[in-house]
């Protein structure tokens, strides 16, 4: 698997360092300073989550976790612990490359610190707290705006229900997924987004939501 991935990524002009354990990953990340780290959650020795926690303070690299089963909660935990995205085994090289490019692009966006986020017709002006679709201004409640803003700041990245609850309702929010589902439903209605065929806010089944990034195919 490692050899195949290394070969596949090199064909797409990435430089790849591969290590076998979490301990080595933490050491290597500090020494070599990669842009993106691909982390298998089923590591021998130090487990994926411990590795993720150890990596986070020392590196600004984007972390994509590799999960075995769709629907396993490990990727939700990993996202809550600071991972940027996930892929589910088995995946093709093309899919992986697309994820890596998206993470790299977001890193570029964040450093640019743009006050206006655009995806398709949707425009979110963070400085003026205004949202427009095409030429139409959209009026959102404070909760709806906060949720959309958080998704927009992480456009292209899957955001878990737990993270949204905590970010929008506060650190000690007690609520369930239905709160976020309900608010997302309201936002979609106001944006004129069809829940059965969403253009802007996409469901991440078993995880949460993702605002489509400008460069995303969806």
């Amino acid at each position: 698997m490692q050899r195949a991935l290394r070969a596949g990524l090199r064909y797409h002009d990435f430089e790849v360092h591969a290590v076998g354990t979490g301990e080595d990953a933490v050491r290597e990340a500090a020494a070599w300073r990669p842009d993106v780290i691909l982390l298998d959650l089923g590591l021998p020795g130090m487990d994926g989550f411990a590795t993720l926690r150890a990596l986070r303070p020392t590196t600004r690299a984007g972390v994509i976790v590799v999960s075995v089963m769709p629907g396993e909660k490990d990727k939700v935990r990993a996202l809550d612990a600071g991972a940027d995205d996930y892929v589910v085994k088995p995946f093709g090289t093309d899919e992986l490359v697309a994820r890596i490019r998206a993470v790299l692009r977001r890193q570029g966006d964040v450093s640019a610190g743009e006050p206006v986020i655009r995806t398709g017709d949707l425009e979110i002006d963070l400085a003026h707290r205004s949202v427009t679709v095409g030429d139409r201004a959209v009026k959102l409640t404070p909760t709806e705006y906060e949720l959309l803003r958080y998704l927009a700041l992480h456009a292209g990245k899957p955001v878990t229900h737990t993270t949204l609850l905590r970010q929008v309702w506060g650190e000690y929010a007690v609520g369930d997924k239905y709160n976020t589902r309900y608010v997302v439903g309201q936002i979609r209605k106001k944006l004129g987004d069809d829940p059965a065929n969403p253009r802007y806010i996409v469901n991440e089944p078993g995880v949460g939501y993702r605002l489509t990034a400008p460069g995303d195919s969806g």
């Binding site: 698997m1 050899r3 195949a4 991935l5 070969a7 596949g8 990524l9 064909y11 797409h12 002009d13 089923g42 075995v68 089963m69 769709p70 629907g71 396993e72 085994k89 088995p90 995946f91 093709g92 090289t93 093309d94 369930d176 997924k177 239905y178 589902r181 309900y182 439903g185 209605k189 069809d194 829940p195 059965a196 065929n197 969403p198 996409v202 469901n203 089944p205 078993g206 969806g218």
Partner: protein, 490 residues
């Protein structure tokens, strides 16, 4: 028998003795109103034995007094009105006195019996509840019950998950266990009943027949009561013991059920662990295959176009293998009865997710949606029902002709949502309408034959139903899902 008539004998003997005493006194002294001595006797009889002996004593006194002291002496006849009046007063006073003394005694003895019952019950109940072994407590109870007059046998049979298990009170024959089971399952007592806080014997069958059966909440009391005139206090006590046995059997069952649930939980965890490790073992080599094959299809790998095509085909086969493994694991997960993670969610969201996932396959498809905005949310496992939708939509996609249509719709009734997925492809043969949901049954060469079987199991795990039918436009799959109990709006 003797015990019952002894008080009457004493009453008559007493009346004779008092008559003798009166005769002795009146022969020496002239004392009026000596008949009052009889009242002392009657009072004593009533206080000691109750109304019956007191009345018997009164009548004996009346007759003896009339015979020996009322002129004409030596006959039962009466000379004049004053003598008659004297006799009537004696009888009336004796009767009333006896009556009063009798009722006083009854009240007192009832109170004593009740106090004794209560004391006995209290001792038994505390002993039973203190005992960690319910079976030991039940044995204690059964021993106490056979001490009661006329109770020959008091056995307790527990009903554990449909099996009759004798617990206390000696052996119970297989025939009796069958009877007990019948009584329990049909909630019918045989030979006894409990009403007004006492056990009542029903003499619907001959004495020689088997024991009486009284069904309880979690077991059956098997009793043999042999007494023509059982003491009501004993029958009340028996009813109280039955009540206590009922509670203890219930407690035992609750403990058994908790234990069983723990067992199931452990085996569920084991199954989940096995499935999880199995999926890891099966998926890892496929993941390596796909990573390697797709790596080589990159132009930079320097392979010829036809070699790349070959690798793409192989990657397609690896993906198919992955789907098959995934489907089989999903099916075994469902058959292992693993828990659903239900949550309220809008059906339109589920459809949106499924369509988003299948986007590449549905590129050239005309997919129409008939889902109202105001449908109430459903209470389902998001990922599992998502799988139902992707399986049904993929199936529709396989069968719809080139440029054909797929429609997904839903409507809500009182407690459930009815959803459907249809396409305008060829009809399903009427004989196959049920068989399409069977495991490994497929109409296509490419299918795993598991997609619809999984859909059926997921829907049924949610308490819904699924069916296939042929509509004018084409085949339609209809399934139901439970609606969420939360309010649709906040």
């Amino acid at each position: 028998m003797m015990r019952r008539f002894a008080p009457y004998a004493v009453a008559i003997a007493g009346a004779v003795a008092v008559t003798a005493a009166i005769g002795l006194v009146s022969s020496r002294f002239e004392v009026p109103g000596l008949s009052a001595f009889y009242l002392l006797l009657v009072l004593w009889l009533g206080a000691t034995w109750g109304r019956g002996p007191a009345v018997a004593g009164s009548i004996a006194a009346f007759l003896l007094y009339d015979f020996y002291f009322v002129p004409p002496v030596g006959t039962f006849t009466v000379r004049g009105p004053s003598e008659l009046l004297e006799l009537i007063v004696l009888l009336a006073v004796a009767l009333v006195t006896g009556q009063l003394a009798g009722s006083l005694r009854r009240t007192q003895s009832a109170a004593e019996a009740l106090a004794a019952d209560e004391r006995a019950m209290y001792e038994l109940a505390t002993a039973a509840l203190r005992s960690p072994e319910v079976t030991a407590a039940l044995s204690l109870l059964s021993e106490r019950a056979v001490l009661l007059d006329g109770v020959r046998r008091f056995a307790l049979v527990a009903m554990d998950f449909g099996n009759a298990v004798p617990l206390a009170g000696g052996e119970v024959s297989p025939d009796e266990l069958r009877q007990a089971k019948w009584a329990y399952e049909n909630r019918r007592a045989i030979g006894v009943a409990v009403s007004d806080g006492a056990v009542k014997l029903l003499r619907t069958q001959p004495e020689a027949a088997g024991p009486a059966y009284l069904p309880l909440a979690s077991g059956v009391a098997v009793m043999k009561i042999e007494d023509d005139h059982p003491d009501p206090a004993d029958l009340r006590m028996l009813a109280a013991l039955v009540g206590l046995a009922d509670l203890l059997l219930d407690r035992r069952r609750a403990a058994l059920e908790a234990e069983r649930a723990r067992g199931f939980e452990a085996s569920d965890r084991l199954k989940a662990a096995i499935l999880s490790s199995l999926s890891h073992e099966l998926k890892s080599p496929i993941a390596s295959l796909r990573a390697g094959l797709t790596a080589l299809t990159a132009p930079q790998a320097g392979l010829q176009p036809e070699q790349r095509d070959l690798l793409r085909d192989l990657d397609g086969q690896a993906s198919r293998l992955d789907r098959l493994v995934g489907d089989m694991l999903a099916l075994s997960r469902l058959e292992a009865g693993l828990e659903l993670e239900r949550e309220p969610i809008r059906f339109a969201d589920l459809v949106g997710t499924a369509l988003h996932q299948l986007r590449p396959d549905l590129k050239d498809r005309d997919v129409t949606l008939e889902i109202d905005d105001d449908l109430p949310p459903v209470e389902v496992d998001e990922l599992q029902v998502g799988r139902v939708l992707t399986n049904l939509i993929e199936n529709a996609n396989e069968w719809a002709p080139a440029g054909g249509k797929i429609a997904v719709g839903a409507s809500a009734s009182e407690d459930r949502l009815t959803a459907w997925v249809e396409n305008d492809g060829p009809a399903i043969a009427p004989t196959d309408l049920d068989r399409v949901f069977e495991t490994f049954w497929t109409r296509r060469a490419r299918g795993s034959g598991l997609g619809l079987a999984i859909a059926k199991r997921v829907v049924e795990a949610h308490g819904g139903t699924i069916r296939a039918e042929n509509r004018r436009r084409g085949p339609r799959f209809t399934f139901t899902l439970p609606l969420a109990r939360v309010a649709a709006s906040h």
